[in-house]
Protein backbone atom coordinates (compact mmCIF):
# COMPACT_ATOMS: atom_id res chain seq x y z
CA UNK A 1 0.00 0.00 0.00
CA UNK A 2 1.35 3.39 -0.93
CA UNK A 3 1.69 5.90 1.88
CA UNK A 4 2.25 9.64 2.02
CA UNK A 5 5.45 10.40 3.94
CA UNK A 6 4.19 13.90 4.77
CA UNK A 7 1.52 12.40 7.02
CA UNK A 8 4.29 10.71 8.96
CA UNK A 9 6.02 14.06 9.36
CA UNK A 10 2.79 15.67 10.52
CA UNK A 11 2.16 12.95 13.07
CA UNK A 12 5.73 12.89 14.36
CA UNK A 13 5.59 16.66 14.80
CA UNK A 14 2.33 16.35 16.67
CA UNK A 15 3.81 13.76 19.02
CA UNK A 16 6.92 15.86 19.64
CA UNK A 17 4.66 18.83 20.30
CA UNK A 18 2.69 16.89 22.90
CA UNK A 19 5.89 15.95 24.74
CA UNK A 20 7.76 19.24 24.47
CA UNK A 21 5.89 22.50 25.16
CA UNK A 22 8.73 24.46 23.54
CA UNK A 23 7.96 23.03 20.10
CA UNK A 24 6.43 25.60 17.76
CA UNK A 25 5.59 25.20 14.07
CA UNK A 26 5.67 27.62 11.18
CA UNK A 27 4.19 27.38 7.74
CA UNK A 28 3.80 29.71 4.78
CA UNK A 29 0.25 29.02 3.65
CA UNK A 30 0.87 25.38 2.70
CA UNK A 31 0.07 23.69 5.98
CA UNK A 32 -2.41 21.25 4.46
CA UNK A 33 0.21 20.07 1.99
CA UNK A 34 3.15 19.97 4.39
CA UNK A 35 0.88 18.50 7.10
CA UNK A 36 1.91 21.01 9.77
CA UNK A 37 -1.85 21.63 9.92
CA UNK A 38 -2.08 18.54 12.14
CA UNK A 39 0.07 20.32 14.74
CA UNK A 40 -1.78 23.59 14.16
CA UNK A 41 -5.13 21.92 14.81
CA UNK A 42 -4.09 20.69 18.23
CA UNK A 43 -1.80 23.56 19.25
CA UNK A 44 -3.15 26.71 17.59
CA UNK A 45 -1.28 28.95 20.05
CA UNK A 46 2.04 27.35 19.06
CA UNK A 47 1.36 27.31 15.33
CA UNK A 48 2.24 30.33 13.20
CA UNK A 49 0.96 30.62 9.69
CA UNK A 50 3.13 33.38 8.30
CA UNK A 51 1.27 33.81 5.05
CA UNK A 52 3.19 33.73 1.81
CA UNK A 53 6.26 35.30 3.44
CA UNK A 54 8.96 32.65 3.52
CA UNK A 55 11.87 34.97 4.29
CA UNK A 56 10.04 36.52 7.21
CA UNK A 57 9.11 33.04 8.38
CA UNK A 58 12.75 31.90 8.56
CA UNK A 59 13.99 34.91 10.52
CA UNK A 60 10.97 34.91 12.84
CA UNK A 61 11.52 31.24 13.65
CA UNK A 62 15.18 32.00 14.34
CA UNK A 63 14.21 34.85 16.69
CA UNK A 64 11.98 32.41 18.54
CA UNK A 65 14.78 29.85 18.74
CA UNK A 66 17.03 32.50 20.31
CA UNK A 67 14.49 32.63 23.15
CA UNK A 68 14.50 28.88 23.72
CA UNK A 69 11.63 27.80 21.49
CA UNK A 70 12.16 24.83 19.15
CA UNK A 71 10.71 25.74 15.76
CA UNK A 72 9.80 23.35 12.94
CA UNK A 73 9.44 25.31 9.72
CA UNK A 74 7.76 23.92 6.64
CA UNK A 75 6.88 24.85 3.12
CA UNK A 76 7.84 23.52 -0.31
CA UNK A 77 11.49 22.73 -1.01
CA UNK A 78 11.56 25.16 -3.87
CA UNK A 79 10.98 28.06 -1.43
CA UNK A 80 13.00 26.83 1.54
CA UNK A 81 15.86 26.99 0.88
CA UNK A 82 15.27 28.36 -2.64
CA UNK A 83 13.86 31.71 -1.71
CA UNK A 84 15.54 32.17 1.67
CA UNK A 85 19.22 31.37 1.38
CA UNK A 86 20.45 34.56 3.05
CA UNK A 87 17.95 34.28 5.92
CA UNK A 88 18.89 30.63 6.51
CA UNK A 89 22.59 31.43 6.34
CA UNK A 90 22.49 34.51 8.55
CA UNK A 91 19.75 33.73 11.08
CA UNK A 92 20.08 29.95 11.50
CA UNK A 93 23.38 28.54 10.21
CA UNK A 94 25.75 31.27 11.40
CA UNK A 95 24.48 31.39 15.00
CA UNK A 96 23.82 27.61 14.88
CA UNK A 97 20.29 28.01 16.20
CA UNK A 98 17.93 25.15 16.91
CA UNK A 99 15.61 25.53 13.93
CA UNK A 100 14.40 22.51 11.97
CA UNK A 101 13.55 23.11 8.33
CA UNK A 102 11.33 20.34 6.99
CA UNK A 103 10.68 21.04 3.32
CA UNK A 104 8.30 18.97 1.27
CA UNK A 105 7.80 18.48 -2.48
CA UNK A 106 11.47 18.00 -3.37
CA UNK A 107 12.54 16.97 -6.87
CA UNK A 108 10.97 16.53 -10.29
CA UNK A 109 8.67 13.90 -8.78
CA UNK A 110 6.48 16.88 -7.92
CA UNK A 111 5.37 16.31 -11.50
CA UNK A 112 2.76 18.32 -13.28
CA UNK A 113 3.32 21.68 -11.56
CA UNK A 114 6.41 21.89 -13.72
CA UNK A 115 9.94 23.32 -13.38
CA UNK A 116 8.83 26.33 -11.31
CA UNK A 117 7.98 23.84 -8.59
CA UNK A 118 10.70 21.24 -9.18
CA UNK A 119 13.25 21.85 -6.44
CA UNK A 120 16.45 20.21 -7.64
CA UNK A 121 18.98 22.63 -6.14
CA UNK A 122 18.07 22.57 -2.44
CA UNK A 123 20.63 20.01 -1.29
CA UNK A 124 23.44 21.73 -3.20
CA UNK A 125 22.50 24.96 -1.47
CA UNK A 126 22.18 23.47 2.00
CA UNK A 127 25.45 21.56 1.72
CA UNK A 128 27.38 24.82 1.58
CA UNK A 129 26.14 25.90 5.01
CA UNK A 130 28.20 24.92 8.07
CA UNK A 131 26.35 23.67 11.16
CA UNK A 132 23.43 22.15 9.21
CA UNK A 133 22.54 18.46 9.41
CA UNK A 134 20.80 17.24 6.26
CA UNK A 135 18.43 14.29 5.94
CA UNK A 136 16.65 12.78 2.94
CA UNK A 137 14.33 10.04 4.19
CA UNK A 138 12.89 7.59 1.70
CA UNK A 139 9.78 6.11 3.30
CA UNK A 140 7.20 6.51 6.07
CA UNK A 141 9.27 4.97 8.84
CA UNK A 142 12.42 6.82 7.80
CA UNK A 143 10.48 10.09 7.81
CA UNK A 144 8.90 9.50 11.19
CA UNK A 145 12.16 8.38 12.80
CA UNK A 146 14.07 11.27 11.24
CA UNK A 147 11.74 13.81 12.82
CA UNK A 148 11.88 12.05 16.18
CA UNK A 149 15.68 11.80 15.99
CA UNK A 150 16.42 15.38 14.99
CA UNK A 151 14.45 16.57 17.97
CA UNK A 152 17.31 15.19 20.04
CA UNK A 153 19.70 17.58 18.26
CA UNK A 154 20.00 21.13 19.53
CA UNK A 155 20.95 22.75 16.25
CA UNK A 156 20.02 23.41 12.62
CA UNK A 157 18.60 20.56 10.54
CA UNK A 158 17.21 20.36 7.03
CA UNK A 159 14.89 17.52 6.06
CA UNK A 160 13.81 16.99 2.45
CA UNK A 161 10.51 15.22 1.83
CA UNK A 162 8.60 14.50 -1.38
CA UNK A 163 5.07 14.69 -2.71
CA UNK A 164 4.14 11.27 -4.07
CA UNK A 165 3.09 8.31 -1.97
CA UNK A 166 5.43 5.32 -1.73
CA UNK A 167 5.56 1.74 -0.53
CA UNK A 168 7.34 1.02 2.72
CA UNK A 169 11.03 0.14 2.52
CA UNK A 170 11.47 -0.30 6.26
CA UNK A 171 9.08 -2.44 8.22
CA UNK A 172 6.72 -0.59 10.49
CA UNK A 173 7.99 -0.55 14.05
CA UNK A 174 11.52 -1.65 13.16
CA UNK A 175 14.55 0.14 14.56
CA UNK A 176 15.94 2.84 12.32
CA UNK A 177 19.09 4.93 12.67
CA UNK A 178 18.37 8.33 11.10
CA UNK A 179 22.03 9.34 11.20
CA UNK A 180 23.46 6.57 9.07
CA UNK A 181 22.88 5.07 5.65
CA UNK A 182 21.27 1.71 5.16
CA UNK A 183 22.29 -1.23 2.99
CA UNK A 184 19.04 -2.56 1.52
CA UNK A 185 20.60 -5.37 -0.52
CA UNK A 186 24.10 -6.77 -0.39
CA UNK A 187 26.25 -7.24 -3.47
CA UNK A 188 29.84 -7.07 -4.64
CA UNK A 189 30.09 -5.88 -8.24
CA UNK A 190 28.31 -2.54 -8.12
CA UNK A 191 26.86 -0.30 -5.42
CA UNK A 192 23.80 1.77 -6.27
CA UNK A 193 23.23 4.65 -3.87
CA UNK A 194 19.86 6.37 -3.80
CA UNK A 195 18.06 8.62 -1.38
CA UNK A 196 14.57 9.94 -0.81
CA UNK A 197 12.01 9.13 -3.49
CA UNK A 198 14.69 7.87 -5.89
CA UNK A 199 15.64 5.07 -3.49
CA UNK A 200 12.52 3.20 -4.55
CA UNK A 201 13.57 2.94 -8.19
CA UNK A 202 17.15 2.16 -7.18
CA UNK A 203 15.90 -0.70 -5.06
CA UNK A 204 13.62 -2.09 -7.75
CA UNK A 205 16.40 -1.90 -10.32
CA UNK A 206 18.85 -3.53 -7.93
CA UNK A 207 16.47 -6.41 -7.24
CA UNK A 208 15.90 -6.97 -10.95
CA UNK A 209 19.64 -7.00 -11.60
CA UNK A 210 20.17 -9.45 -8.76
CA UNK A 211 17.57 -11.77 -10.29
CA UNK A 212 19.50 -11.67 -13.54
CA UNK A 213 22.54 -12.88 -11.65
CA UNK A 214 24.39 -9.65 -11.00
CA UNK A 215 25.70 -8.89 -7.54
CA UNK A 216 24.49 -5.38 -6.75
CA UNK A 217 24.55 -3.56 -3.42
CA UNK A 218 21.78 -1.06 -2.76
CA UNK A 219 22.33 1.75 -0.27
CA UNK A 220 19.77 4.25 1.00
CA UNK A 221 21.74 7.41 1.84
CA UNK A 222 19.32 8.65 4.46
CA UNK A 223 21.68 11.22 5.97
CA UNK A 224 23.73 13.57 3.81
CA UNK A 225 25.27 15.20 6.90
CA UNK A 226 26.43 13.60 9.07
CA UNK A 227 27.72 11.45 6.22
CA UNK A 228 28.06 7.75 6.95
CA UNK A 229 31.53 7.55 5.39
CA UNK A 230 32.16 3.99 6.50
CA UNK A 231 29.30 2.53 4.46
CA UNK A 232 30.36 4.46 1.35
CA UNK A 233 34.04 3.63 1.66
CA UNK A 234 33.21 -0.03 2.27
CA UNK A 235 31.04 -0.03 -0.86
CA UNK A 236 33.85 1.58 -2.85
CA UNK A 237 36.34 -0.96 -1.58
CA UNK A 238 34.16 -4.05 -1.91
CA UNK A 239 32.18 -3.22 -5.07
CA UNK A 240 34.72 -1.08 -6.91
CA UNK A 241 32.02 0.85 -8.83
CA UNK A 242 29.31 3.19 -7.65
CA UNK A 243 26.16 4.52 -9.30
CA UNK A 244 24.31 7.38 -7.57
CA UNK A 245 20.62 8.00 -8.21
CA UNK A 246 19.01 11.23 -7.02
CA UNK A 247 15.91 13.28 -7.82
CA UNK A 248 18.05 16.39 -7.62
CA UNK A 249 20.65 18.23 -9.64
CA UNK A 250 23.84 16.31 -10.21
CA UNK A 251 25.65 19.60 -9.59
CA UNK A 252 26.41 19.59 -5.90
CA UNK A 253 23.82 17.07 -4.72
CA UNK A 254 24.12 13.58 -3.26
CA UNK A 255 26.28 12.22 -6.10
CA UNK A 256 28.67 15.11 -5.64
CA UNK A 257 28.79 14.43 -1.92
CA UNK A 258 29.88 10.87 -2.69
CA UNK A 259 32.51 11.92 -5.23
CA UNK A 260 33.84 14.61 -2.87
CA UNK A 261 34.43 11.91 -0.30
CA UNK A 262 35.82 9.27 -2.65
CA UNK A 263 38.12 11.67 -4.49
CA UNK A 264 39.82 12.40 -1.20
CA UNK A 265 39.73 9.03 0.52
CA UNK A 266 39.36 6.28 -2.07
CA UNK A 267 39.22 7.27 -5.75
CA UNK A 268 36.57 5.05 -7.31
CA UNK A 269 34.67 4.90 -10.58
CA UNK A 270 31.36 6.74 -10.05
CA UNK A 271 28.44 7.42 -12.41
CA UNK A 272 25.64 9.77 -11.50
CA UNK A 273 21.99 9.68 -12.46
CA UNK A 274 20.21 12.90 -11.62
CA UNK A 275 18.89 16.06 -13.14
CA UNK A 276 21.10 18.36 -15.17
CA UNK A 277 18.53 20.69 -16.73
CA UNK A 278 15.09 22.16 -16.08
CA UNK A 279 12.56 19.38 -16.58
CA UNK A 280 8.92 19.98 -17.57
CA UNK A 281 5.35 19.23 -16.52
CA UNK A 282 4.33 15.59 -16.55
CA UNK A 283 3.53 12.58 -14.41
CA UNK A 284 6.39 11.66 -12.08
CA UNK A 285 6.88 8.26 -13.75
CA UNK A 286 6.94 9.88 -17.20
CA UNK A 287 9.46 12.45 -16.02
CA UNK A 288 11.62 9.79 -14.40
CA UNK A 289 11.63 7.90 -17.70
CA UNK A 290 12.50 10.96 -19.75
CA UNK A 291 15.11 12.37 -17.37
CA UNK A 292 16.88 9.12 -16.63
CA UNK A 293 15.69 8.15 -13.16
CA UNK A 294 13.35 5.27 -14.04
CA UNK A 295 13.98 1.65 -13.11
CA UNK A 296 14.88 0.99 -16.76
CA UNK A 297 17.36 3.87 -16.83
CA UNK A 298 19.04 2.62 -13.67
CA UNK A 299 19.25 -0.95 -15.01
CA UNK A 300 20.66 0.27 -18.31
CA UNK A 301 23.30 2.41 -16.63
CA UNK A 302 24.15 -0.36 -14.18
CA UNK A 303 24.73 -2.83 -17.01
CA UNK A 304 27.04 -0.39 -18.75
CA UNK A 305 29.04 -0.18 -15.56
CA UNK A 306 29.00 -3.92 -14.91
CA UNK A 307 30.28 -4.82 -18.37
Amino acid sequence: MKLNVRNYYGNALLEIGRDDPNVVAFDADLSNSTKTALFGGEFPERFFNMGICEQDMISTAAGMASCGKRPYVSTFCVFVPGRCFDQIRMCIAYPGLDVKLVSTHGGISVGKDGPSHHAVEDLSIMRTLPNFNIFVPSDPLATYETIKSIHEINGPCFVRLFRDSVERIYEEGSEFDAFSSHVLQDGEDLAIIGHGFATHNALEAGRALQKEGHSVRIIDLQSLRPLDERTILDAAKECGKILTVEDHSIYGGMGSTITDLLAQKRPTSVSMLGVDRFAESGRPDELYEKYGLSVNSIIKKSKEMLN
Binding site: G51, D56, A62, M64, S66, C67, K69, R89, M90
Partner: protein
Protein backbone atom coordinates in the same frame (compact mmCIF):
# COMPACT_ATOMS: atom_id res chain seq x y z
CA UNK B 1 13.41 51.61 37.05
CA UNK B 2 14.56 55.17 37.74
CA UNK B 3 15.39 57.26 34.75
CA UNK B 4 19.04 57.90 34.04
CA UNK B 5 19.99 61.53 34.71
CA UNK B 6 19.55 63.24 31.35
CA UNK B 7 22.67 65.40 31.48
CA UNK B 8 24.81 62.39 32.42
CA UNK B 9 23.21 60.34 29.67
CA UNK B 10 23.99 63.04 27.11
CA UNK B 11 27.64 62.80 28.15
CA UNK B 12 27.59 58.98 27.97
CA UNK B 13 26.12 59.11 24.47
CA UNK B 14 28.83 61.46 23.37
CA UNK B 15 31.42 59.02 24.72
CA UNK B 16 29.76 56.25 22.67
CA UNK B 17 30.01 58.49 19.62
CA UNK B 18 33.70 59.13 20.22
CA UNK B 19 34.33 55.43 20.87
CA UNK B 20 32.75 54.56 17.51
CA UNK B 21 35.14 56.96 15.79
CA UNK B 22 38.19 55.70 17.73
CA UNK B 23 37.29 52.04 17.20
CA UNK B 24 36.79 52.29 13.46
CA UNK B 25 39.89 54.42 13.01
CA UNK B 26 41.82 51.79 14.98
CA UNK B 27 40.36 48.98 12.87
CA UNK B 28 40.95 51.03 9.71
CA UNK B 29 37.48 49.96 8.60
CA UNK B 30 33.84 50.12 9.65
CA UNK B 31 30.95 52.57 9.53
CA UNK B 32 31.47 55.45 11.96
CA UNK B 33 28.96 57.82 10.37
CA UNK B 34 26.24 55.13 10.62
CA UNK B 35 27.07 54.80 14.33
CA UNK B 36 26.99 58.54 14.89
CA UNK B 37 23.40 58.90 13.72
CA UNK B 38 22.12 56.31 16.20
CA UNK B 39 24.42 57.00 19.15
CA UNK B 40 21.71 58.58 21.30
CA UNK B 41 19.14 55.93 20.36
CA UNK B 42 21.52 53.13 21.40
CA UNK B 43 22.78 54.95 24.48
CA UNK B 44 19.31 55.74 25.82
CA UNK B 45 18.01 52.25 25.08
CA UNK B 46 20.86 50.27 26.54
CA UNK B 47 21.95 52.51 29.40
CA UNK B 48 18.54 53.80 30.46
CA UNK B 49 15.33 52.32 29.07
CA UNK B 50 15.97 48.59 28.74
CA UNK B 51 15.81 46.09 31.61
CA UNK B 52 19.16 44.62 30.74
CA UNK B 53 22.44 44.06 32.54
CA UNK B 54 25.18 41.41 32.73
CA UNK B 55 23.52 40.11 35.91
CA UNK B 56 20.24 39.66 34.00
CA UNK B 57 21.90 38.08 30.97
CA UNK B 58 20.15 34.74 31.55
CA UNK B 59 16.96 36.16 33.04
CA UNK B 60 14.09 35.21 30.71
CA UNK B 61 12.27 38.41 31.70
CA UNK B 62 15.07 40.67 30.46
CA UNK B 63 14.38 43.08 27.64
CA UNK B 64 15.91 42.15 24.30
CA UNK B 65 17.46 44.23 21.57
CA UNK B 66 18.21 43.50 17.92
CA UNK B 67 20.52 45.78 15.95
CA UNK B 68 19.03 45.21 12.53
CA UNK B 69 21.41 47.78 11.01
CA UNK B 70 24.32 45.61 12.11
CA UNK B 71 26.93 47.95 10.62
CA UNK B 72 26.38 50.27 13.62
CA UNK B 73 28.03 47.57 15.73
CA UNK B 74 30.80 49.79 17.16
CA UNK B 75 28.31 52.12 18.88
CA UNK B 76 26.39 49.05 20.12
CA UNK B 77 29.59 47.50 21.47
CA UNK B 78 30.57 50.72 23.22
CA UNK B 79 27.16 50.91 24.92
CA UNK B 80 27.33 47.24 25.97
CA UNK B 81 30.80 47.72 27.38
CA UNK B 82 29.63 50.79 29.32
CA UNK B 83 26.84 48.64 30.70
CA UNK B 84 29.48 46.20 31.95
CA UNK B 85 29.06 43.31 29.50
CA UNK B 86 32.78 43.15 28.66
CA UNK B 87 35.97 45.11 29.34
CA UNK B 88 36.54 48.35 27.52
CA UNK B 89 39.87 47.08 26.08
CA UNK B 90 37.90 44.76 23.80
CA UNK B 91 36.54 47.79 21.94
CA UNK B 92 39.95 48.48 20.52
CA UNK B 93 40.41 44.97 19.16
CA UNK B 94 37.35 45.45 16.93
CA UNK B 95 37.60 43.44 13.70
CA UNK B 96 40.92 41.82 14.71
CA UNK B 97 41.51 38.12 14.10
CA UNK B 98 40.59 36.18 17.23
CA UNK B 99 38.80 39.15 18.80
CA UNK B 100 35.41 39.06 20.49
CA UNK B 101 34.04 41.96 18.47
CA UNK B 102 33.23 41.06 14.88
CA UNK B 103 32.64 43.61 12.13
CA UNK B 104 28.92 42.99 12.62
CA UNK B 105 27.23 41.67 15.80
CA UNK B 106 27.74 37.99 16.61
CA UNK B 107 25.55 36.58 19.38
CA UNK B 108 27.85 33.62 19.91
CA UNK B 109 30.97 35.68 20.44
CA UNK B 110 29.86 38.83 22.23
CA UNK B 111 28.18 38.97 25.65
CA UNK B 112 25.03 41.06 25.58
CA UNK B 113 24.41 40.63 21.85
CA UNK B 114 21.03 38.93 21.52
CA UNK B 115 21.15 38.16 17.80
CA UNK B 116 23.66 38.06 14.95
CA UNK B 117 23.00 40.62 12.25
CA UNK B 118 24.73 42.27 9.33
CA UNK B 119 22.66 41.30 6.32
CA UNK B 120 20.02 44.01 6.18
CA UNK B 121 16.27 43.64 6.44
CA UNK B 122 16.08 40.67 8.82
CA UNK B 123 16.04 42.25 12.27
CA UNK B 124 12.36 43.08 12.44
CA UNK B 125 11.41 39.47 11.71
CA UNK B 126 13.85 38.28 14.35
CA UNK B 127 12.41 40.73 16.88
CA UNK B 128 8.91 39.51 16.02
CA UNK B 129 10.04 35.97 16.79
CA UNK B 130 11.41 37.10 20.15
CA UNK B 131 8.19 38.99 20.91
CA UNK B 132 6.08 35.94 20.04
CA UNK B 133 8.28 33.63 22.15
CA UNK B 134 8.20 35.96 25.16
CA UNK B 135 4.45 36.36 24.91
CA UNK B 136 3.98 32.60 24.62
CA UNK B 137 5.93 32.18 27.86
CA UNK B 138 4.02 34.97 29.60
CA UNK B 139 7.21 37.01 30.06
CA UNK B 140 7.08 40.74 30.62
CA UNK B 141 10.08 41.34 28.34
CA UNK B 142 10.02 44.17 25.84
CA UNK B 143 11.68 43.71 22.49
CA UNK B 144 13.43 46.62 20.83
CA UNK B 145 14.82 46.65 17.31
CA UNK B 146 16.82 49.39 15.61
CA UNK B 147 16.32 49.63 11.86
CA UNK B 148 18.30 51.67 9.39
CA UNK B 149 16.21 53.71 7.00
CA UNK B 150 17.96 52.33 3.93
CA UNK B 151 17.17 48.77 4.96
CA UNK B 152 13.45 49.57 4.89
CA UNK B 153 13.81 49.03 1.15
CA UNK B 154 14.18 45.30 1.79
CA UNK B 155 10.91 43.49 1.08
CA UNK B 156 11.29 41.35 4.18
CA UNK B 157 10.82 44.43 6.37
CA UNK B 158 7.30 44.83 5.04
CA UNK B 159 6.55 41.13 5.43
CA UNK B 160 7.66 41.54 9.04
CA UNK B 161 5.68 44.76 9.46
CA UNK B 162 2.56 42.79 8.54
CA UNK B 163 3.52 40.05 11.00
CA UNK B 164 4.05 42.44 13.95
CA UNK B 165 0.65 43.93 13.31
CA UNK B 166 -1.15 40.68 12.50
CA UNK B 167 0.03 39.10 15.75
CA UNK B 168 -0.62 42.30 17.76
CA UNK B 169 2.94 42.43 19.07
CA UNK B 170 2.52 45.30 21.50
CA UNK B 171 5.62 44.12 23.37
CA UNK B 172 7.67 45.23 20.36
CA UNK B 173 9.16 48.67 19.70
CA UNK B 174 10.97 49.41 16.45
CA UNK B 175 13.08 52.50 15.98
CA UNK B 176 14.08 53.81 12.56
CA UNK B 177 17.36 55.68 12.36
CA UNK B 178 16.03 58.10 9.74
CA UNK B 179 19.28 59.71 8.62
CA UNK B 180 18.07 59.95 5.02
CA UNK B 181 21.27 58.48 3.55
CA UNK B 182 22.32 55.14 2.15
CA UNK B 183 25.48 53.97 0.35
CA UNK B 184 24.78 55.51 -3.02
CA UNK B 185 22.87 58.67 -2.09
CA UNK B 186 19.77 59.88 -0.30
CA UNK B 187 17.02 57.37 0.36
CA UNK B 188 14.59 59.56 -1.53
CA UNK B 189 16.81 59.59 -4.64
CA UNK B 190 17.75 55.92 -4.58
CA UNK B 191 14.41 54.32 -3.61
CA UNK B 192 12.04 56.67 -1.90
CA UNK B 193 10.55 55.66 1.43
CA UNK B 194 8.20 58.54 2.08
CA UNK B 195 5.54 58.91 3.29
CA UNK B 196 7.05 56.61 5.91
CA UNK B 197 4.79 57.51 8.82
CA UNK B 198 1.68 56.83 6.76
CA UNK B 199 3.12 53.58 5.45
CA UNK B 200 3.57 52.18 8.96
CA UNK B 201 0.23 53.56 10.12
CA UNK B 202 -1.48 51.82 7.24
CA UNK B 203 0.26 48.59 8.32
CA UNK B 204 -1.41 48.94 11.73
CA UNK B 205 1.46 50.43 13.73
CA UNK B 206 1.46 53.23 16.29
CA UNK B 207 3.95 55.74 14.94
CA UNK B 208 5.97 58.26 16.95
CA UNK B 209 8.32 60.84 15.49
CA UNK B 210 11.13 62.59 17.31
CA UNK B 211 14.59 64.12 17.07
CA UNK B 212 16.87 61.11 17.36
CA UNK B 213 19.64 63.15 18.93
CA UNK B 214 17.48 64.57 21.71
CA UNK B 215 18.20 62.38 24.71
CA UNK B 216 15.38 63.76 26.84
CA UNK B 217 12.81 63.09 24.09
CA UNK B 218 14.19 59.61 23.54
CA UNK B 219 13.95 58.82 27.26
CA UNK B 220 10.32 59.88 27.27
CA UNK B 221 9.07 58.50 23.95
CA UNK B 222 10.86 55.14 24.16
CA UNK B 223 9.04 54.55 27.46
CA UNK B 224 5.74 55.68 25.99
CA UNK B 225 6.14 53.37 23.02
CA UNK B 226 7.19 50.50 25.29
CA UNK B 227 4.05 50.94 27.38
CA UNK B 228 1.68 51.37 24.43
CA UNK B 229 -0.54 48.31 24.36
CA UNK B 230 -2.88 48.57 21.40
CA UNK B 231 -0.41 47.66 18.65
CA UNK B 232 3.31 47.43 17.85
CA UNK B 233 5.02 50.83 17.97
CA UNK B 234 7.60 52.39 15.74
CA UNK B 235 9.61 55.52 16.43
CA UNK B 236 10.84 57.39 13.40
CA UNK B 237 13.91 59.12 14.79
CA UNK B 238 15.12 61.98 12.62
CA UNK B 239 18.88 61.88 12.74
CA UNK B 240 21.99 63.19 11.01
CA UNK B 241 24.46 60.73 9.59
CA UNK B 242 27.92 61.55 10.94
CA UNK B 243 26.38 63.70 13.70
CA UNK B 244 28.99 65.44 15.83
CA UNK B 245 31.76 65.90 13.31
CA UNK B 246 30.97 68.87 11.06
CA UNK B 247 32.77 67.59 7.95
CA UNK B 248 30.92 64.24 8.20
CA UNK B 249 27.42 65.45 8.97
CA UNK B 250 24.96 64.54 6.22
CA UNK B 251 27.75 63.64 3.80
CA UNK B 252 26.96 60.45 1.92
CA UNK B 253 30.52 59.65 0.88
CA UNK B 254 31.45 59.07 4.53
CA UNK B 255 29.45 55.82 4.54
CA UNK B 256 31.66 52.90 5.54
CA UNK B 257 34.72 55.11 5.82
CA UNK B 258 36.73 55.52 9.03
CA UNK B 259 38.34 58.78 10.07
CA UNK B 260 42.06 58.82 9.23
CA UNK B 261 44.63 58.70 12.03
CA UNK B 262 45.74 62.27 11.44
CA UNK B 263 42.14 63.56 11.48
CA UNK B 264 41.14 61.71 14.62
CA UNK B 265 41.92 64.43 17.15
CA UNK B 266 39.94 67.00 15.26
CA UNK B 267 36.99 64.65 14.82
CA UNK B 268 36.89 63.88 18.54
CA UNK B 269 37.16 67.60 19.32
CA UNK B 270 34.17 68.18 17.06
CA UNK B 271 32.10 65.78 19.15
CA UNK B 272 32.90 67.75 22.30
CA UNK B 273 31.80 71.09 20.92
Amino acid sequence: MAMFDTQKLIEECNEIRKDSIRMTTGAKSGHPSSCMSCTEILGVLILDVMELSPEQAEDPNRDRFVLSKGHAAPAYYSALSRKGFFPREELFRLRDVGAMLQGHPDMKKTPGVEFSTGSLGMGLSVANGMALACRLDGLKSNIFVLLGDGELQEGQIWEAAMTSSHYHLSNLVAIVDRNMLQCDGTTEDIMSLEPLKEKFESFGWKVYELDGHNVEQLQKVLREARDYEASPSIIIAKTIKGKGVPCMEGVCSWHGKPVKDNELKEALRGCDQ
